[in-house]
Symmetry: C2
Subunit: 221 residues, 2 copies
């Protein structure tokens, strides 16, 4: 990832103590999940859509149907705004004003470009492995028809910033003397279990890459 | 909420079996969490920012500092695009092409308007109670200075659609005959625990609204 400087779009003005611009912190958040919200415009109006992504080096990749409205809009020369957010806890202060959320988020900006046909198959595998490591090797390979029907975009990370809040509530000084309970309710995403496909053929065991994934106590960390 | 018809911005073209337009389903998703991603434009460029919201009747409300860039941008007459997404499971099919996610999401559109000064206090309480029911009654009330420093916007839900996917992978017919494992990894958000504020005065017990909240097995359901 190129050096990431806070430019006009990502310079965090308020709550500046939460701003993080170093590459390592930004990549760590980007690599903690697989779902982002993409901001784009159509006829000058903002739209937001959730979609899967994969980060590889200095770019994130998006994919979808060849006629996907968002992907095609992003190819008109506009700059995409992509946001990744993980919610870690509720910060319950002594006043409503000081209530907050412990979270990790990255906002990045870049101009999308179409990925060449001969790069698509490897990138689509990367999407799957970004969700569950080791999964793509276990799958039926993409057919030419599927590759033809899929558009993959590369969004180079031209500008990015992370915003991270951790720790207890920060109340106004006089409020610490009150008899109001304050603290943090920590949240986590867990795996509730796996359900075999009801059409699974007899004798197919849960493969190692799945049992390893499911053995994680929490995900998105 | 006004009758919600699929108009140009929210008509779901592909995966139409996932589209939901009835008010009850949309409200249920909106009331399952408190964090949204707001899409807006500045100088014609898209931006996305995560923020807390509260739904009341036919509108969602946003709040922040009086000089908050997003809130002020939304007051220039543009239409806000607001997206709420909950991730329920990884849908692991027999081909990468058919991999998917079980999720609940709502995208809504509306033109923001400033809330009158005398409505702010009640609305700010509503934000807190939307996160943790019963919390606002336990807090130090907002001061006039805090109210003056806070901007609250009402975004009437002019147009909205939910997209909900549940259930097992849907593979291409010939793939069901393969020896590839397929299924769903279900995810859930749980409360990991509560941490008292380190500056809590001696003798302050965890109040009932918190112990009740923490007793929930899962949240965002």
């Amino acid at each position: 990832m190129a050096p990431i400087a806070p430019e006009s779009k990502t310079k965090i003005v308020r709550s500046d103590n939460r701003a993080v611009y170093d590459r390592e912190s930004i990549e760590k958040v980007l690599d903690s999940t697989f779902l982002c919200h993409v901001g784009f415009t159509i006829d000058g109006e903002a739209r937001v859509i959730p979609t899967a992504y994969v980060r590889i080096d200095d770019a994130v990749y998006l994919h979808g149907h060849l006629k996907n409205q968002m992907l095609n809009a992003l190819l008109d020369g506009q700059t995409a705004s992509i946001c990744i957010t993980l919610t870690d806890g509720l910060v319950l202060a002594r006043s409503g004003f000081k209530h907050s959320v412990n979270y990790r988020s990255v906002t990045l900006f870049g101009k999308a470009e179409k990925v060449a046909d001969d790069e698509k198959a490897a990138l689509l595998d990367a999407f799957v492995d970004f969700m569950v490591p080791g999964r793509s090797a276990a799958l039926r390979k993409a057919s030419q028809q599927e590759l033809n029907a899929t558009l993959v975009l590369r969004v180079p990370i031209d500008e990015a910033a992370a915003k991270i809040r951790t720790g207890p509530p920060l109340d106004k000084d006089p409020d610490y003397a009150t008899h109001i309970w304050a603290g943090v309710v920590n949240l986590e995403t867990r795996i509730r279990g796996i359900e075999n496909c009801p059409k699974l053929n007899a004798g197919i065991e849960v493969p190692e890459h799945i049992s390893k994934y499911v053995a994680q106590e929490t995900i998105f960390d």
